[in-house]
Symmetry: C2
């Protein structure tokens, strides 16, 4: 009784076998009411809490789903009015929420871990060893590691994966960026745009760029063959890229189209430093729809992703595969919506 009580203790005190104790928790219906209540009473008295590890070992299922996301801690968080809460403006929060809620609805708990910048190797298989299914945000885990993990349990990517052999839920990046770019071209009459992309290995970023290209195509404008600049997907990256671009492009572009909101916010800062103003001197757009976009001046025109849905759909796909290991890979595509605010010249302020 010194250490934490186990089934054995409960069984002994209740005068039953450990199997019965186990059944009280696993399949209460198969135990006579009287017995069940006696066991539960003893358990309560003893402070018995079933060991998740033991249960996991014996039943070969953990009742936990996992979520890996990149650690987007944007240290240069100067975009927000107070640096303090810039960090809570990131979209993974929404994904976490959505996923937690969906998981809980289905009786699962959620294990979360940002990928460690340094050695991700450990963390992923660490996670994989603890969960029944794993959702991975884009750019978090190298493909080959995922392959290893996927041999062991269901894995769903939360982004457009390089190949389509994996379950994934993606967002209509192409369509969204197409709509946004068309808006700039058609509605605002802009013709010389510049695109600031993310890393080349970001499938989302690349898909957005293709949407950007398509809008040019549709409008009969010259087809940009690649992003005018690239950087990582942070505010700092966006600012640097914008600075470089403003230095480099002699007829200043009429719009800076960023691959995501954080970069766009960084871009706004770069403009400010140059004494330029959006949207008067140059339009600016982002992608994602993070809350921060509404707090900056001017408010940021963007394409909003349904991030809560990302999490929900991830759970749905994981459960589907858990139920049928051999089903064909499925892709869920979530629609985006164009959010016109001030930075493209739509709203005032």
């Amino acid at each position: 009784m010194r250490s934490t009580p186990t089934v054995y203790d409960v069984a002994e005190h209740a005068g039953v076998s450990i199997a019965t104790v186990s059944r009280v928790y696993r399949s209460p219906a198969t135990v006579r009411v009287e017995t069940r209540e006696r066991v539960l009473a003893v358990a309560r008295e003893l402070g018995y809490v079933p060991s998740g590890s033991a249960r996991g070992l014996a039943s070969r299922t953990t009742g936990v789903l996992g979520l890996c996301f990149p650690d987007f801690h944007d240290t240069e968080a100067e975009g927000a009015p107070d640096a303090d809460d810039a960090e809570l403006m990131l979209y993974v929060d929404e994904v976490i929420r959505g996923m937690e809620r969906a998981a809980r609805r289905h009786g699962y708990a959620l294990l979360i871990a940002a990928s460690v910048a340094g050695g991700p190797g450990q963390s992923v298989s660490d996670m994989a060893g603890r969960v029944d299914g794993l959702a991975v945000l884009a750019q978090t885990v190298p493909e080959d590691e995922l392959d290893v993990v996927a041999r062991r349990l269901p894995v769903v990517m939360l982004a457009n994966p390089p190949d389509r052999a994996r379950d994934h839920v993606e967002v209509a990046n192409f369509d969204g960026q197409l709509a946004l770019t068309r808006h700039l071209i058609k509605d605002h009459g802009l013709r010389r745009l510049a695109f600031v992309g993310g890393p080349e290995d970001s499938p989302d970023g690349e898909a957005r760029f293709r949407g950007y290209q398509a809008a040019h195509l549709a409008a009969g404008l010259p087809l940009p063959d690649r992003p005018d600049a690239r950087s990582d997907l942070t505010q700092a990256g966006g600012r640097l890229a914008a600075q470089a671009l403003l230095d480099r492009l002699s007829p200043r572009p009429q719009a800076l189209v960023f691959a995501n909101d954080q970069m766009a916010v960084g871009g706004l800062h770069a403009l400010g430093e140059r004494g330029l103003r959006a949207p008067d001197d140059i339009a600016v757009t982002g992608f994602d729809g993070i809350p921060l976009g509404r707090l900056v001046t001017p408010t940021l025109t963007t394409v909003r992703q349904p991030m809560g849905q990302l999490g929900e759909q991830a759970v749905a796909l994981l459960l589907a595969r858990l139920a049928d290991h051999d089903r064909p890979p499925e892709a869920r595509v979530l629609a985006t919506t164009l959010t016109r605010r001030a930075s493209c010249g739509c709203a005032d302020r």
Copy 2:
């Protein structure tokens, strides 16, 4: 080889014993380099992923910390410009973030679960069975359940607990509300304030009310003996309470002081419905510092809590107790900061 490989498979293929395989992962330094690499190579080839459950069972530690939070899904999310993202404006996101980061720094993963409205009983001990330590947000779990769980593992409360016998990290609710109320009285010259509290069993809410009282005391104003109204801590609740208050109090109060931001936002709506404007007709204040407070009109004067810190400190306390089971209960108090915005008459707009 059909099913997922285990230490036995790896050991056999590498020509070593399972103990050596285990050591390769647990204490690599004790294995000869040559052996270690052979084992790792085999493991990689086989797609071996150590089972968290088995490890947990054998080592009696899971490497996971848990966080229970209330499901504050504010269905009446009309406060936000788009209802969609009202849900990501809640402060638990920040706590989750802070805790995840701190946990990861110390080699732990984070298991999260909102308390199920219906039957919380199961979820808590479910969690407890899977983690090495548990952080619990106020009002999430009944005290007696916590007592049971606390016999098994370290538990820290993220709020002012009813008794001080538990590790907890609290926020300086009293001081914060005192400062805020004094600001209204001294700087804005208001004398007839009304306080809208939360449920009586919310320790935070009660502490805030005591700060409110103290400010009256210090200013020589009549001491309010209890909140002028109470409601649950949601927008809907705040709105209803404000409506009732405006109907009831015949000389309209000069300020509505809400126990938290969400209620205050609801209160702003109530004012709008009455054709009243803050701060001109009546000042309004909140408590927490949620991002939503900056998005509403007028922007919300509030007291900001360092919520990320809440999570970080929770981890610190859990680790401390894990290291020394017999240390006396510790309380960490986090300072708050008064954030003056428009709704009290400080900023414009």
